[in-house]
Each structure stands twice: as C-alpha cells, then as structure tokens.
Amino acid sequence: MSQPQDMMADMQDGTPTTVLAIPATRPRRRKPVWRRLLLSPSAIALIIIVLLAAFAGVIAPYGEAQINPVAALEPPSFAHLMGTDTFGRDIFSRVLYGGRLSLMIGCSAAAIGATIGVLVGMAAGYFGGRIDSIAMRIIDVLLAFPGTLLAIVIVAVLGPNLLNLVLAVGIASVPGYARLVRSLSLSIRESDYVTAARATGVRSWTIIFRHVFPNLRNSVIVYATLNIATAILNAAGLGFLGLGSKPPTAEWGLMVADGRETLEIAWWITAFPGLSILVTTLVIYSFGETLTAALDPRQSRQ
C-alpha cells in the first residue's frame, strides 16, 4: 500500500534502495500513523464522548429516572446544567445515560451488520456464480426498501422493543456491507497470491479468511465507523417514533419526543438530547475521515 511512497521518500534522501529494503522501513512508518490517529481532534473528541458515556453512572449528578416534581420544567442552571423535564428529571444526567445506550445500540447494530454483510459479501465475491447471483438478488430486494423502511418493517415483525430495534437497524445495514465487500473481494480474487494459494490446494474458506479478509479489512473498518453514526441516527429516529425503548428509559430519540409537547415553554428538554445526537454523529463522521486518511492514504488524497 505504501510502497511507492517509501521508495520515493528514500530516493529523496539520496539513499538508493531496492525493493527488498522495504520491509525494514515498515515498522518505522507504522507507529506515527497510529499516534497521529489517536492525537487527531476527532479521535480525542470521540474518546471524551465514550468516556462520558461509559462513566455516566459516576458523572451524572442525578439518577436516570430520578423524579423530583418540585423541580419540574426548570431551565438550565448550575444545579441542572441542561434543565429538567416535566417530571423534574435532570436532562444532563439523562443525556449521559442516553449516550451510553446510543453508543451501545450503534456499535451492536454495526457489529451485526458488519458480521453478516462481510461474510455474505466475501462468499458472493469469492465464489461467484450461483452463490453470487442469489446473494445479490436478495440484496437488491433489500435495497428496494428505501431508507429506514427495512428497519421499520423488521421492528414491526419482531415487535417494538430495544433488542429488536438493534437487530432491525443491524440487519438493515447488511446490504451496504455486502455490496462493498463483494466488489472488493471480486478484485482480490483475481490477484496472484490468491491464485497461488488455490494452486497449492488451500481450502476456499481458509483463503477467504487468510488472504481476502485482511485485504479488505481497512475498508470495512472505515465503513463500519460511518455505519455506527448512521445506526445511532436511525435508532434514535425509531426511538422517537416509539418503536424502540420504552419510557422511562433515557434514550435520545425518546427524550426528543418527550419534549415535543412542552416545546413552547421548555425548549431544553428537546434541544439537548438532539444536540447530543448531532455532536456524536458529527464526531464519528469526522473520525471516519481521519481513519480513511490513516488507513488508506491513496483514497484520502483524491
């Protein structure tokens, strides 16, 4: 991947190198990439969000469903950073707990989508023929359900609750992975090392996991990162419609819906959970871009 760059950099140094010298330079170049990645603004922002969500129980000044009728509908103040809702629950605490839930939903859904999608995509791309045709026809049908409709229908079938919501959002993201991985596998299949492996009699699935998967792993990581953001957005949308977790669970989509009735007198109930979704997806999207730059320099330069 970085071979031409290495050679160019070395030639500029004035030290003529042969192709054989490249492996030696590899470890030296690896480290800065990961350090640059970890120290990028988007990665730091993401780490902060994850820490806030992970330690919600420690940071949150109030309980997730701690009701206090005396302090109902209070605007943001030092006691309640993001105000309180109709039951007097602290919005800031609920946003933190909601963040934990949203990140878990997003990551689980992306994991489900990635696992199924990558397996289907690799099988379709590597084996080709009838397996490919059947898999792609099914994917075509799934893609005929626009946007989140597929997730909505799956929730309808399984019943509206949190676990089914995760499954639904995960399954709805399978077609995206499958198409990406299939097209990558198609070209990897034609490479010499795969032919060589096949000629020496290595079994198909061994080739797929040893040779095909490592070569498409980076693309899948980048796609999955963006998919987590999309999954959080979709899950929050379904939560808003009442198709996800049930009250009094602190879930961002549900919290935005909660504030709808009192929007005129208490904007903060709606504003902060939605803002949290916006910030989280923005940070994940920009981290995805940083990741693309780190993992695939060729693509990011275009």
């Binding site: 026809r137 099914i138 075509d140 049908v141 799934l142 005929a144 359900f145 626009p146 946007g147 989140t148 409709l149 909505i152 229908v153 799956i154 929730v155 309808a156 079938v157 399984l158 019943g159 509206p160 953001a229 957005l233 929050a236 949308g237 808003f240 419609l241 009442g242 198709l243 989509g253 935005v256 819906a257 504030g259 709808r260 929007l263 005129e264 904007w267 709606t270 504003a271 959970p273 939605g274 803002l275 979704i277 916006l278 997806t281 923005l282 999207y285």
Partner: protein, 315 residues
C-alpha cells in the same frame, strides 16, 4: 437504447416480486400466529382462550385461507393485491386499500415539496460554493451541509418549529388545510437531501471548471454566465439526478418522521400507528406501497437519465 429501456423496465418485475414476497414472508411466517393476534385484538384484552374455542380458530383459519400452503397464500396475496385488495384492518375493520389511499396524497405531496426544497436549495448553494472553492463562503456552506447530514431530522423539525414558529412566528406550525403549512415540514424533510446534493454539486462544479472545454470556452471570450449555463451545468447536474433518485427513498421514509413531528396525516403516521397496535394488514400495505413507490421513482429517474445523457442515448 430501446433495448436497455425495456430491460430496465423488465428488471422492475423481479424486484417487486421480491419486495412483496419479503414483506409477505416477514409478516406471515415470522411473527406470532396472525389468528392469535386477531383474536386478541377483537376480544379487546381478554385471554384468547376465553372467547375463542379450537373450533372457531380452525374455522377462522380456513376462512382466511391460512391453512393453505405458503406459496398458495402468497399467490393469492399477490393477485388480490393487484386487484386492489390488501386485506382488512384488524382494528378498524376497514379495507386497507381505502385507508392507504386516503393518506397517500398527503404523503406524496409532502415528499414532492421536500424534494423541491432539497433540489432548489442543494443546487443553488452547491453552485455558489462550487464557483469559489476554498473561499470563506465555500467553507461556511460546507460546514452547514455537514451539519445538515449529521442532524437528526426529527430534532431539526422541532428546532425549526421552535425558532421559526414560536420564537419568531414566521411560519404556521399546524393546519394541514392551509397551503403555507407545508413549508416547515417540507424544509425539515428536504434539508438532509439538500446538504447531500449541495456537496455533490459543489465538488462536481469545482472539478468541471478546471476541464479543458471550460478553458477553451473561456479563451474564446465567452461570458462567465454563458460558460456556467451552457457548458458547466449540463455536465454537473446530470450526476445529481441519480442522487435525487436515491434521496427520494430517504424522503419517502423521512415523511414517516416528519408526519409525526408536525402531526400531519399521511401513510407514515398510519403505518407507525399500525405497528404499535400490531395491525399487520396495514403494516403490510404500508411497506409494499412505500417500497413500490421507491422502485418506480428510481425507474423513472433511470429512464430520464438515459434520455438526458446523449452518451447513453446513442450507445
């Protein structure tokens, strides 16, 4: 060209068959027994066994044809659907087709208004940014577009209501009857699409302005306006058309959320209510209608693309 068009039209049939089968399969085979659901629905909360004996269940099953093999059931569902019979709602006992048809125009009107917003705002700001890449205006618009993509539409809609209808009462919030009441919902629905279209238009235009034929046109002494309208835009806007087709799908499901946010009638609201009440015939009709609309819109976009792009037309 004609052959490709016919092939493209023909390709719709297996997809539609697949879509209807997927919906049919998911809603008939996987969930709880529809008879059980139906009995629980009609006996209003009573235990099913209290009101329905084995015999009545068996009779109902035969009456609805649920004792027949699956492929027979699917075929009958398909033929009934083609003749406009999508079953009877468990709850209201009205034909599902009537319920959907009553709501469909509201949703289509909203989707088209949203599409108009997305296309007009997206291309306008995309062209502005694309003409001055790297400028402050460009950077600002790019930031707004990124926010537009990352913001959840249900929240965006409520924030628009708060700022444009409550704090500064410019737009009306509710009232489906009045024509201006569609403005805010359409804006909410169209903004994410506008952001995507703007980004695409911007990068396409910025790249096209560096092409040889633009340099040639400029060296001929053509005015900037003429270069933009005659030479650049036809090349820039054609790929945008495909994105519009894809965006229309998001718009169709976006209506589900926007209808809830603005308390508007529509097929999305009907569908979500049906899911919450386990009214499967309506859910089935809702999913089939939305997916079919999407498949046909994409067909129209593809054919339009073919007709507009001479490279495909004469190939």
């Amino acid at each position: 060209m004609t052959r490709y068009a016919l092939w493209r039209i023909g390709a719709v049939i297996p997809v539609l068959l697949g879509v209807t089968f997927a919906v049919f399969f998911m809603l008939h085979v996987l969930p709880l027994d529809p008879i059980q659901v139906m009995i629980t629905q009609t006996s209003s909360g009573q235990a099913p066994s209290a009101s329905a004996t084995e015999q009545t269940i068996a009779n109902l099953r035969r009456e609805l044809g649920l004792d027949r093999p699956l492929y027979v059931q699917y075929a009958s569902f398909l033929f009934k659907g083609l003749s406009g019979d999508l079953g009877i709602s468990f709850r209201s006992h009205q034909p599902v087709v009537d319920l959907l048809l009553a709501q469909y125009p509201y949703t289509i009107r909203l989707a088209l208004a949203g599409l108009l917003c997305a296309v007009v705002l997206g291309t306008t700001f995309g062209i502005i940014a694309g003409l001055m890449p790297g400028s402050l205006v460009d950077k600002f618009l790019l930031l707004v577009a990124t926010l537009g993509i990352a913001a959840p539409s249900f929240w965006l809609g409520l924030m628009l209501i708060y700022f444009l209808a409550i704090v500064f009462p410019i737009f009306p919030v509710l009232g489906v009857g009045r024509p201006e009441a569609i403005l805010l919902p359409a804006l909410t629905l169209g903004l994410p699409g506008a952001a995507i279209i703007a980004r695409l238009t911007r990068s396409n235009l910025a790249a096209t302005m560096k092409e040889d034929f633009i340099v040639t046109a400029r060296s001929k002494g053509l005015s900037r306006r003429l270069i933009l309208l005659k030479h650049a835009l036809p090349n820039v806007l054609l790929p945008v058309l495909t994105v519009i087709g894809l965006q229309f799908g998001n718009l169709m499901t976006g209506t589900v959320i926007v209808e809830t946010v603005f308390s508007r009638p529509g097929i999305g609201r009907l569908g979500v209510d049906a899911i919450l009440q386990s009214d499967y015939p309506i859910v089935q009709g809702f999913a089939v209608v939305l997916a079919t609309t999407y498949v046909f819109v994409n067909l129209i976009i593809d054919l339009a693309y073919m007709w507009l792009d001479p490279r495909i037309r004469y190939a």
